[in-house]
């Protein structure tokens, strides 16, 4: 079958998609966007998290056909041109990245949290990210990174409002 998607702002058409294929497979294997990772393929780890119409989903659990005509945003689309989003910067700065395999999914999930909640509490962060498993970091530095990015984002927003 044929699937139309808007991925990271670009319209894409993919042909020859098999009915059982996941969105994750289409992104990784057909579109050359390997940022979202396949670590379990059954919705248990969050490594494949992407935005679908603005909501974070496990791309391994979404059938490609379900995504037809919808908007997808992956880790490759978080930066604004060459400018990293504060959450990407904070992950590097705080040491929240080790092997990096969980990172793309965590970034999308954390991005959503910050954009939605602004400055989440520690409990909110731990809860929101509980579906994204990381085997390396022990999560403490991820927590730090989310706190830092949220604070910077908040400051930037206030700054913008002040100027306007």
């Amino acid at each position: 079958m044929r699937v139309h998607l808007t991925v990271n702002g670009r319209d894409e058409t993919v042909d020859g998609v098999w009915e059982g294929e996941s969105l994750l497979y289409v992104l990784r294997e057909r579109m050359g966007l390997p940022g979202a990772k396949n670590a379990c393929e059954q919705g248990e780890c969050g490594s494949c998290t992407v935005y679908l119409d603005g909501l974070p989903v496990c791309a391994c659990l979404v059938a490609a056909g379900q995504a037809d005509g919808r908007r997808v945003r992956t880790v490759e689309g978080l930066a604004d041109g060459g400018r990293l989003h504060p959450i990407q910067e904070a992950f590097v700065e705080c040491g929240a990245v080790q092997c990096g395999f969980c990172t793309p999914g965590l970034l999308v999930q954390a991005h959503d949290l910050i954009e939605r909640v602004g400055e989440p509490s520690d409990a909110e962060i731990r809860e929101a990210l509980a579906g994204n498993l990381c085997r390396c970091t022990g999560y403490e530095k991820i927590l730090d990174a989310v706190r830092l990015a949220a604070a910077r984002r908040g400051a930037a927003r206030t700054g913008t409002e002040d100027r306007s």
Binding site: A39, G95, C99, C134, R135, C136
Partner: protein, 698 residues
């Protein structure tokens, strides 16, 4: 004596950001499974559905009639490999040694065709009775010649039996740890591609030089004809250190079909043939004076291995190092079962062994009425308790004292089961950590360009540890330049050979080679008047002689971990409220990456204490809980407060950086600290991990 380790350091010790961080947060970092060579076909390994027996026939012909199927390979039509190692002899015999062993592989144009083909491939077996359950009294338990890392199986001094019989205070208990799976987030995957008589393998590997050598010998080629590419590895914790069957299967399949082959294991397949931590049954006996001073220590460990090879973990070895006692004995026994071969998982040996020893020490503290921190201090040895060798440095006592201070241990009421906040019983516990500080020979090349840039080349691996970053800092110091002027290339077997990222000896081994190459380069540049010739200047160092000639010392990192737990009085649900570790591991080269290593290790220890257990199904002979829904690892919400600190430790007997490995020590002792805290909270002693509700609610 080595030169002082602080000379000329500017960047080692600095909290540099991970140099490949940008690639990882933008999704650009390429892992093995991200490659898509042209003309790729997909292979799926077919697992045996019996635990022991023989494959009689595989219906290859029916399979080849299916649309999209390119090949079906089994012992009957597989190319022959040059090996007598049964572990590596993939598809070389009809024998089935464990359930899930690869007995065939199917190749198709698409992954779904390959999966479907693998599912429907008809295989005829003759099954035999199997035996997959480890017991301490198993009639086939035997004493191996040696245990892993070259340690003797058994050691002893004095007369521990008599000493225990006469000791005023005795602890004599059995402890158990379950099978556990490494579960790095990146599943193993291989892309194998033959070009003429050369083989290219994309594979997440902790040991590209080792993998190259093994593949070359299996396929009867010179090592230079094999190229292993592994720039980023999504975690390994030991599981990506060995050459595994799926890699061989992919290479063999690619050779047979003459096209590049991708063989990506699913999470469920990782539970079969990528290694796991052996279950252990351990008996620890401690005999002491009433003041807690040890008279005797015995530690007897029973582990399992497969019928294919003898893999025996050094479980009781930490008891040879930790505490002073005149009478002592350690033994290892192994049972060869119809199971997959266990392998390395973060701190193999030390981690399960210290759960037993440090739980027993807590029991002794209670039996003697001595504070558990004080008990450990009282039994501090002056030199290696068994080896008699001086310690190159040993700061366990300082770690215990500093940890106690930071944690607020002073004035702790030792009575169990008396602190309650609402429905929650509160308790605290402590345990010691230790891990050897080893070094292996390595080579490295450094190259200077006329513009002031340097490139370090070394077949090391960065599995998330920060190796690339730390080697950049080490090189910058040795060259007297800034890290930004240095590029480190690693994770590629075409680079100068280097040892495994394992045994917490990566940085020590690779760093020594990098320093020596840089020193030599600096000397050559100076001799040439300080100018880099137009064509650049390159120096290669090999540390074989230096490492072999190192003085004899007992070299270990030490640490102390403190835990506070809350246990629901009605449901037994256990939460680790606080975990605090203090470590003494030589010079810390990068506080940012180091803290992550310690905290990551401690969190994996928390996970081990409360969650992790691979359950062997005796009837069918495989692990029952083989995905992340059933094999739980700590998630963000399981972790409340984990803190890691370290002491400045000057040790001139290690390596030019003065560092000890830190990748594994963080997981050693954590589970004991938590189990000890659970006893303090509830009065229930859990001697068999994990600490599950049903063991607490009686």
């Amino acid at each position: 004596m080595t030169a002082p380790v602080t000379a000329g350091r500017r960047y080692a010790g600095a909290a540099l950001d991970r140099v490949e961080g940008l690639d990882k947060v933008t999704g650009r970092a390429a892992y093995a499974a991200d490659h898509r060579p042209a003309d790729l076909v997909h292979a799926v390994a077919v697992p045996a559905t019996i635990a022991r027996g023989e494959v009689v026939q595989v219906d290859v012909d029916a399979m080849l009639k299916r649309p999209g199927v390119v090949a079906a390979i089994w012992h009957g039509n597989a190319p022959r490999l040059a090996t007598s190692d049964e572990e590596l002899a993939v598809l070389q015999s009809r024998r089935v040694a464990y359930r899930g062993q690869y007995v065939a592989v199917v190749v198709a144009e698409t992954p779904e065709d390959a999966r479907e083909a693998a599912r429907t491939l008809r295989i005829e077996y003759v099954a035999e009775e199997h035996d997959v359950i480890l017991r301490a009294d198993h009639p086939r338990a035997y004493r191996p010649e040696n245990v892993n890392a070259g340690h003797p199986s058994d050691t002893g001094q004095g007369d521990p039996d008599a000493a225990l019989a006469a000791a005023p205070v005795v602890v004599d208990e059995e402890y158990g740890t379950p099978a556990e799976h490494n579960n790095p987030m990146e599943p193993h995957a291989t892309i194998a591609d033959w070009h003429g008589d050369g083989l290219i393998v994309h594979e997440p590997s902790q040991n590209v030089s080792g993998l190259r050598a093994t593949l070359a010998s299996l396929f009867g080629m010179p090592p230079g004809h094999v190229h292993v590419v592994s720039p980023h590895v999504g975690g390994g914790f030991g599981s990506k250190a060995k050459t595994l069957p799926h890699t061989i299967l992919a290479a063999l399949t690619a050779k047979q079909v003459g096209r590049p082959v991708k063989l990506a294991l699913t999470r469920r397949q990782l539970f079969v043939a990528t290694g796991y931590r052996t279950p252990t049954v351990q008996r620890v006996r401690l005999g002491a004076e009433p003041d807690g001073r040890l008279i005797a220590i015995t530690h007897d460990a029973v582990m399992q291995s497969s019928t294919l090879s003898e893999f025996t973990e050094q479980t009781a070895v930490p008891s040879r190092v930790m505490y002073a006692a005149p009478h002592r004995r350690t033994t290892h026994r192994v049972v060869r079962l119809d199971v997959p071969t266990p392998s390395w998982m973060r701190a193999p040996g030390e981690c399960p062994g210290m759960f037993a020893l440090e739980s027993a020490m807590d029991e002794l503290a209670i039996a003697c009425g001595v504070d558990p921190v004080e008990l450990r201090v009282r039994n501090e040895p002056a030199a290696g308790p068994e080896s008699g060798l001086p310690f190159s440095s040993r700061n366990l006592v300082a770690c215990l004292r500093e940890g106690a201070r930071r944690f607020g241990w002073a004035g702790r009421d030792p009575r169990p089961g008396v602190r309650r906040r609402g429905r929650t019983l509160i308790g605290t516990g402590v345990a010691a950590s230790t891990f050897p500080a080893l070094r292996a020979p390595s080579s490295a090349t450094v190259r200077a360009e006329p513009g002031g840039r340097y490139t370090v080349r070394i077949a090391a691996a960065d599995i998330g540890t920060g190796a690339r970053t730390v080697l950049t800092q080490i090189a910058a110091d040795a060259l007297g330049t800034a890290p930004a002027a240095v590029t480190v290339e690693l994770g590629d077997s075409a680079l100068p050979p280097a040892p495994v990222a394992g045994g917490s000896m990566g940085t020590a081994s690779w760093g020594t080679a990098v320093v020596r190459a840089c020193e030599e380069l600096a000397a050559r540049l100076e001799a040439a008047g300080g100018t880099v010739p137009d064509g650049g200047l390159e120096v290669t160092a090999d540390t074989g002689r230096e490492v072999r000639a190192q003085e004899r010392y007992s070299r270990h990192a030490f640490g102390a971990q403190f835990a506070e737990v809350g246990v629901d009085a009605d449901t037994g649900e256990t939460r680790v409220l606080r975990l605090l570790g203090v470590f003494a591991a030589g010079r810390v080269l990068n506080p940012k990456t180091a803290r992550s290593q310690f905290i990551g290790g401690m969190t994996m220890g928390l996970s081990m204490a409360l969650l992790e257990e691979s359950i062997m199904d005796g009837r069918f002979g495989d692990f029952l809980n083989c995905d992340l829904a059933q094999y739980h690892i700590a998630a963000h919400a399981d972790v409340r407060d984990v803190q890691a600190y370290w002491l400045e430790e000057e040790d001139p007997h290690l390596n030019p950086m003065g560092s000890k490995g830190i990748g594994e020590i963080g997981i050693v002792g954590t589970a004991a600290a938590i189990a000890n805290a659970v006893h303090h909270a509830t009065g229930v002693r859990i001697r068999e991990l994990p600490i599950r509700l049903d063991k607490l609610v009686r």
